[in-house]
C-alpha cells in the first residue's frame, strides 16, 4: 500500500536525493566540459596543412601512393588525404573545388578540364599499360593477338562474355576507344556484353567468376592475380616491353586545381606536391615500385625531368 501523506523523514530523503542528483549532474557536466576542451586543444595543437589528392583507384590499390607519399609528408610537413575514385568522379571533384590535385588517366577529359579553366596545367607523370585478360581456355581464341581492337572484334563475333567497367573511368574510356577502332558498338542488352559500373578490382573478380574477358590495367591485375581463378593475360604479353599495341599504353598525369577558380585550394602546397612528384628522385622511386614483388615495375616514370635524364 502506498502511503498518502509524506512524513518529515521522507522530505529529508528527497532533499538528500535531490542534492545527490545535482552533484552527479555537476560532475557529469565538468567531465563533458573538460573532454570538449581537450578535444578542441587537440584539434588546434597542430595547424597542419592538408592537401587533398583525388586519384584513380589503380594508383592507390597498387600501393604506390602509400609507398611514396610519406616522404613528401615528412619533408614538407603536409598531410596528404588521398581520395581514390574513378577518373570521372575525380574530375568532377576537381570541378567543384573539392580536390586540390588530380592524378588521373583520361587524356580527353584531362585536356577539357584544363581548357575549361578548372586545372592549371596537365603534367605527364608516369605510364603503364592495359592488357586484355580472360579465361585460360580462351573461348574466343584471342591469345597472342597483337592488336587489342582486333581481339575485341573477335570476342564480339564469338559473342564471348565481356565485362566492361562501364563507369566513365580512364579504363572504361580506353575500352570505348578500342571498341570504336574495332568498328563494333557493343550493346549492354545483347547478353554477352556486361557493363557492371564497378571498380577495376571488382571487375576482375567479376570476370573471374563469370569466365569473362575484360580490359584491365596491368598493375591492378598483377596486384590481384593470386585471388583470381583461371584469369590470364591474353593480349598484351608478359610485361609492358612485350605489349605490341601502342593503343594499350596508359599515361597518367597530375593536374593542380586552378586556385583562381577555387580560391580555397592551398596553392603553394599543391604546386610543391606537383613539383615533388615530378622530381627525378621521386620518379626513380616510382620506377622501382613493385619490382621486388611482381618482377616488373607497375608504373614507368614519364616526367620531363625523367625524360631529360633518360633520353
Amino acid at each position: 500500500m502506498r502511503r498518502l501523506f509524506l512524513t518529515r523523514a521522507d522530505g529529508v530523503v528527497m532533499m538528500y536525493r535531490h542534492n545527490a542528483m545535482k552533484k552527479i549532474l555537476r560532475s557529469f557536466m565538468q567531465i563533458t566540459f573538460t573532454l570538449c576542451a581537450l578535444l578542441l586543444a587537440a584539434c588546434q595543437a597542430q595547424p597542419e596543412q592538408v592537401l587533398r589528392l583525388a586519384t584513380t583507384t589503380s594508383t592507390y590499390d597498387s600501393g604506390l601512393l602509400q609507398a611514396i607519399l610519406p616522404d613528401f609528408e615528412t619533408e614538407y610537413g603536409v598531410r596528404v588525404d588521398v581520395i581514390a575514385v574513378g577518373t570521372g568522379q575525380a574530375i568532377a571533384m576537381g570541378e567543384r573545388g573539392d580536390a586540390d590535385v588530380l592524378m588521373v588517366h583520361d587524356r580527353v577529359k584531362e585536356e577539357a578540364f584544363v581548357d575549361e579553366g578548372h586545372g592549371l596545367a596537365r603534367y605527364p607523370l608516369m605510364y603503364n599499360d592495359f592488357v586484355i585478360v580472360g579465361p585460360a581456355d580462351d573461348p574466343a581464341g584471342i591469345r597472342g593477338m597483337g592488336l587489342a581492337s582486333e581481339a575485341m572484334a573477335r570476342i564480339a563475333s564469338a559473342r564471348a562474355t565481356f565485362a566492361s567497367r562501364g563507369d566513365d573511368s580512364g579504363t572504361h574510356a580506353r575500352e570505348m576507344t578500342l571498341w570504336l577502332a574495332s568498328g563494333i558498338q557493343p550493346d549492354p542488352s545483347s547478353g554477352w556484353y556486361l557493363s557492371i559500373g564497378q571498380g577495376m578490382g571488382e571487375t576482375l573478380q567479376f570476370a573471374s567468376e563469370r569466365r569473362a574477358y575484360t580490359l584491365s590495367d596491368r598493375g591492378t591485375y598483377l596486384a590481384m592475380q593470386e585471388n583470381l581463378i583461371d584469369l590470364v593475360v591474353l593480349v598484351g604479353g608478359e610485361s609492358l616491353a612485350h605489349n605490341a599495341d601502342q593503343n594499350l599504353i596508359n599515361p597518367y598525369s597530375v593536374i593542380p586545381v586552378n586556385p583562381a577558380r577555387h580560391p580555397q585550394t592551398p596553392k603553394e602546397v599543391s604546386m610543391q606536391f606537383v613539383e615533388w612528384i615530378l622530381l627525378l628522385d621521386t620518379q626513380e622511386q616510382i620506377s622501382t615500385f613493385g619490382v621486388d614483388q611482381y618482377g616488373q615495375p607497375l608504373f614507368y616514370p614519364d616526367s620531363d625531368h625523367w625524360r631529360s635524364a633518360h633520353p
Binding site: V85, G86, G88, Q89, A90, I91, A92, M93, E95, G166, D167, D168, S169, P188, S189, L194, S195, I196, G197, Q198, G199, E202, F206, E209, R210, I229
Partner: protein, 233 residues
C-alpha cells in the same frame, strides 16, 4: 522541370534511353518486392509465434534476431557472394550476379527485421487479451491470428521497415548482383555508379526516385492497414 524530365534528359545525354531508367525501377521493385514478400510470408508468422511462445532460451533467440536486424548489408552480400561463387558450395546453381542472388541477400536482410518487429508488436499487447481469447476457446492458430490483427500497426511498421531497408541498401545488391546494366542494376547501385561517374545531379535525382518508391510503398501499406479484416471471427 520535374525530376523525371531531368532524369530522362540526363540519361539521354548519356546515350541511354528512358527505357533504361524504367528497367532499373522495375527491377528494383521486382527484386525488393519479391524479397519482401518472402520475408513477410515467413517472417510475420515466425515473429508472431515467437511473440506468444515461452520456452527456455527464448531471450537468446530474441537477442540473436535483434542482432540480425543490424546485419551490415555488405557482410550479407559477401556471404551470399562466397556461397554462390563458382568456388563456393552452391556455385552450381549459377545464381551469382543474377536477380536471384539479390533476392537471397535481401531476404536475409529483411527477415530478421520483420521477425523482430512483429515479435515486439505481439509482446506489447495487453496480456489479458490472450487469456480472454483462450477463455473463448481459441486454438493456438486462432489465437496468433487474432493477436496479429490486434498488433497490425506494428506488423505494418515491420513490413515497411523491411522494405525501406532492402530497397535502399547497396552493399549486398552490388556484391551479389554485380550491377550489370540492363540485368541486375537497381536504383541503389545506379546511384553509386552515377556518383562514381561524377554525375552528382543525376545520382541525387535517382535518390529522389528511390525515396518516392519507398513513400508509395508506405502509402500502400497504410491503406492496407485500414482495409485489412484480420480479426479472428
Amino acid at each position: 522541370m520535374s525530376i523525371w524530365d531531368t532524369l530522362i534528359e540526363t540519361l539521354n545525354q548519356g546515350a541511354s534511353t528512358g527505357s533504361e531508367l524504367l528497367h532499373i525501377i522495375l527491377l528494383t521493385l521486382r527484386v525488393s518486392g519479391l524479397a519482401l514478400l518472402i520475408s513477410a510470408v515467413v517472417g510475420i508468422p515466425a515473429g508472431a509465434w515467437l511473440g506468444v511462445s515461452r520456452f527456455p532460451g527464448r531471450r537468446v533467440v530474441v537477442a540473436a534476431i535483434y542482432t540480425g536486424m543490424g546485419l551490415p548489408p555488405v557482410v550479407v552480400g559477401l556471404a551470399v557472394y562466397m556461397i554462390l561463387s563458382r568456388s563456393g558450395p552452391l556455385g552450381d546453381l549459377g545464381w551469382l550476379f543474377t536477380p536471384a542472388a539479390m533476392v537471397t541477400a535481401q531476404v536475409l536482410l529483411a527477415m530478421p527485421l520483420i521477425i523482430g518487429l512483429t515479435n515486439a508488436a505481439i509482446e506489447s499487447l495487453d496480456p489479458d487479451l490472450r487469456l480472454q481469447l483462450r477463455s473463448m476457446g481459441a486454438n493456438r492458430l486462432q489465437e496468433i491470428g487474432a493477436m496479429l490483427g490486434e498488433a497490425r500497426d506494428g506488423v505494418i511498421a515491420a513490413v515497411a521497415a523491411g522494405f525501406g531497408g532492402i530497397v535502399s541498401e547497396v552493399g549486398a545488391a552490388m556484391l551479389a548482383g554485380g550491377n550489370i546494366e540492363a540485368q541486375t542494376r537497381v536504383l541503389s547501385t545506379a546511384i553509386v555508379l552515377e556518383t562514381r561517374r561524377g554525375n552528382f545531379a543525376l545520382a541525387l535525382a535517382l535518390g529522389g526516385v528511390l525515396l518516392s518508391l519507398t513513400f508509395a510503398m508506405s502509402i500502400l501499406l497504410i491503406r492496407l492497414r485500414h482495409r485489412a479484416v484480420w480479426t479472428w471471427k
